[in-house]
């Protein structure tokens, strides 16, 4: 194996490592939302994903998430909160609101119908 072949192999393996780290191991900080008049409100842009996609809230206070879908791709036309049995259609360009009051600490994931786009609400004490 000549030197260039070795370099290619090392780069390839490094790339695999990068994929593993970037997509699976990397832990991201969520966006903390503060309660205003007892309501924890956030606007989430839906375009190829949810922006922001990790939202940190406090338990026991109303959470109001406003979704605005800014694309026509059918993939994101629905957002599903399976854990709390809520879902909504997101017509392009309209604001659709999901409301709930988390009572327990933990994570409430949300996603598109196919599970390709994902986000989560982290509920803290």
């Amino acid at each position: 194996m000549n030197i260039s072949a070795i370099i290619v192999n090392v780069l390839g393996l490094a790339l695999i490592g990068l994929v593993v780290w970037y997509f699976w191991l990397y832990r991201r900080e969520g966006v903390q939302i503060a309660a205003v008049a007892g309501v924890q409100e956030a606007t989430i842009k839906v375009k190829g994903g949810y922006e922001p996609d990790v939202i940190v809230v406090k338990k026991g206070k109303l959470v109001r998430l406003h979704f605005i879908r800014q694309e026509s791709s059918m993939c994101s036309e629905m957002v599903i909160f399976d854990k709390i049995q809520k879902s909504a259609k997101l017509p392009e360009g309209e604001t659709v609101t999901i409301e709930f009051t988390p009572e327990q600490r933990g994570e409430i994931p949300f996603q598109c119908q196919m599970g390709m786009l994902r986000g989560k609400v982290i509920v803290e004490a």
Binding site: M1, A5, V8, N9, G12, L13, L15, I16, V19, V20, Y22, F23, W24, Y26, R28, E41, K47, G48, G49, Y50, E51, D53, R64, H66, E71, S72, S73, M74, C75, E77, M78, I80, D82, Q85, S87, A88, K89, P91, E92, E94, T95, V96, T97, Q111, Q113, M114, G115, M116, L117, R118
Partner: protein, 710 residues
Amino acid sequence: MTLSKSISIEESASEIARSALLGQIAEPQDHEAQAIAKEYRSLVRKFWFAAVISIPVMLVAYPELPWLYLPGLFVREVTQNLIQWLFVLSAAATLPVMAFSGRQFFTGAWAALKRHSADMNTLIALGTSAAWIYSTTALLIPSIFPEGTATPFYDVTAIVTALVVLGQALEVRAKGQTSQAIRKLLDLQAKTARVLRNGVELEIPVEEVVVNDVVMVRPGDKIPVDGEIIKGYSTVDESLVTGESLPIDKKIGDEVIGATLNTTGAFNFRATKVGKDTALAQIVKMVQDAMGSKAPIARLVDVVSGYFVPTVMILSILTFLVWFDLGPSPALSFAIVTAVTVLIIACPCAVGMAVPMSLVAGVGKGAEHGVLIRNGEALQTASQLKIVVLDKTGTITKGKPELTDVMPANGFDRETLLLFAASADQPSEHPLAQAIVQGARNQGVHLSEPNKFEAIPGHGVETEVDNRQVLVGNAKLMSRNNIDASMIKEDVERLQGEGKTAMYVAVDGKAAGVVAVADTIKEDSVQAIRVMQDAGIEVIMITGDNERTAMAIARQVGIERVLAEVLPQDKAQEVHMLKKGGKKVGMVGDGINDAPALAEANVGFAIGTGTDVAIEAADITLMSGSLKGVAYAIEISKATMRNAKQSLLGAFAYNTLGIPVAAGALFPFLGLLLSPIIAGAAMAASSVTVVTNANRLRFFKAKSFANEIQ
């Protein structure tokens, strides 16, 4: 200034939120149809753009093809230099293909990448751009590549983009058909209503009708909102909303459901529910919620699909390395082509879409027949039911007694007997007496007004009809009046054996015959129960009645196992015991009295709820009173789960077989290597197949709604 501004922002935000919440129901779905049509047109445009450019690019990619040599067409002599220039043109031509036709892949991939996630866009964007970058590098600085590997393949970029976009277009169109059910429901809605306000008749948009408005309905009109008839009568066709096939007679005091069709009569009704409170709006809401829920099987898939795309990326890199290190010459060419093929063939969409698409189609199909499935979990469990417990009264039977037998004794004819019995019973409010009166009227008997009516508790009635003494009641009434009823005693006992309530009738001190009433079974109960039994489900009847009455009904409908003399509060306990056997148990009853048993069952079916669709205890709500709905719910659940599993299995098989083949697993044995273009076509086809398969459910033919089974 700042203060007022912040308030107005807050106000407008909550206003938007509120209208959006309402909008989910009130918003006409034309909107959605338009969005789908727009997306489809846009994708088709993108496809044609890519397709048109693909043709010359593909021809250039195969310079050995004879087209370049056609005399006089292009050039006389094909030089290496010419081919190089043609490739440069290809490079330039494929850029707009990626930028226009494939734009969403790149924007989507980028958006995902920013959030440390990857999806189908990532794979297509990587595949097509890797092909382009490799080709362009090979074209510009061929010297860095080993001998014979610096061959561009721009055709992959252009054709794969075209194919995947075409696949998406077909998918969008098919998806529009899958979610048609809700649109159909909303189309049922009347557009205007005729209301009476301050004595003036006004035609107003249906949205403006308020509770307590008096709404006028003429023959052939669509009933605009829910309400209660206050004047007139008619027959209403509720089939489109409740699935009940026969038109229903409606009189003063009866409920009417918005979006159902008035037939011949005219009536006025008082609006009781409008806007998002109407039965139709509730149905739409429930169906939408169910379509957005997850079947447990899909949760499993979600776990897998979370790892899918990065895994494919890793496999692609490994494929590259294996070919690069171990492949035949030109190894680099093989390595890059196979790596790109792996990226392109993988279809996470097909896996992710399989269950949701079938669920949407199945739930919609159910709604068409007045079967409202609360969520994916209810649907999946309904498909696994092994035992179905049916409440007797009101579920298998009509829930109110009807006249069943009229048996005159010697010296009387049928009509006379019925005339006396029914006339005598006229003043009585007892349901059994009323059943006899109603039965006689239905048979065209003109009743007489009785004199000296006397109800004797525990015995029956004593009256005078047309100046003759008439007694209607039990054996005790006969013996009290010293009437010899021995010749009709046998008939009475036989009828009782059939679970009926038989009554002696005596006229002027002589036994005149027997009339019997019974809670009759609904016309279609037998068929519905048979459909369930044929599907391998054990059907059990539960009732508070005594064993004999219960068995009589059970025999008529073909049920073998009966839980008789069960007190209402013990029904849930019985269901609990059945569940202990390890089989999935469904319970069918009315949503109010049977709520605990419905909640206890694996799947609770609330039957005949009419407008009251939002019954919490039920997993599946049946708008009509027919048991066919239960059979149908089970049938459609099974069909939906079968469909979802087919798609899922197909998608998994496709990916687990396709990816190794794309990586060249067959090359050492068969010398077979997949072209990235074939991979692109396969990928597009696989996701279209999933949606198409789900659409097959639209043509599902249920046994429970077959006209007649032999």
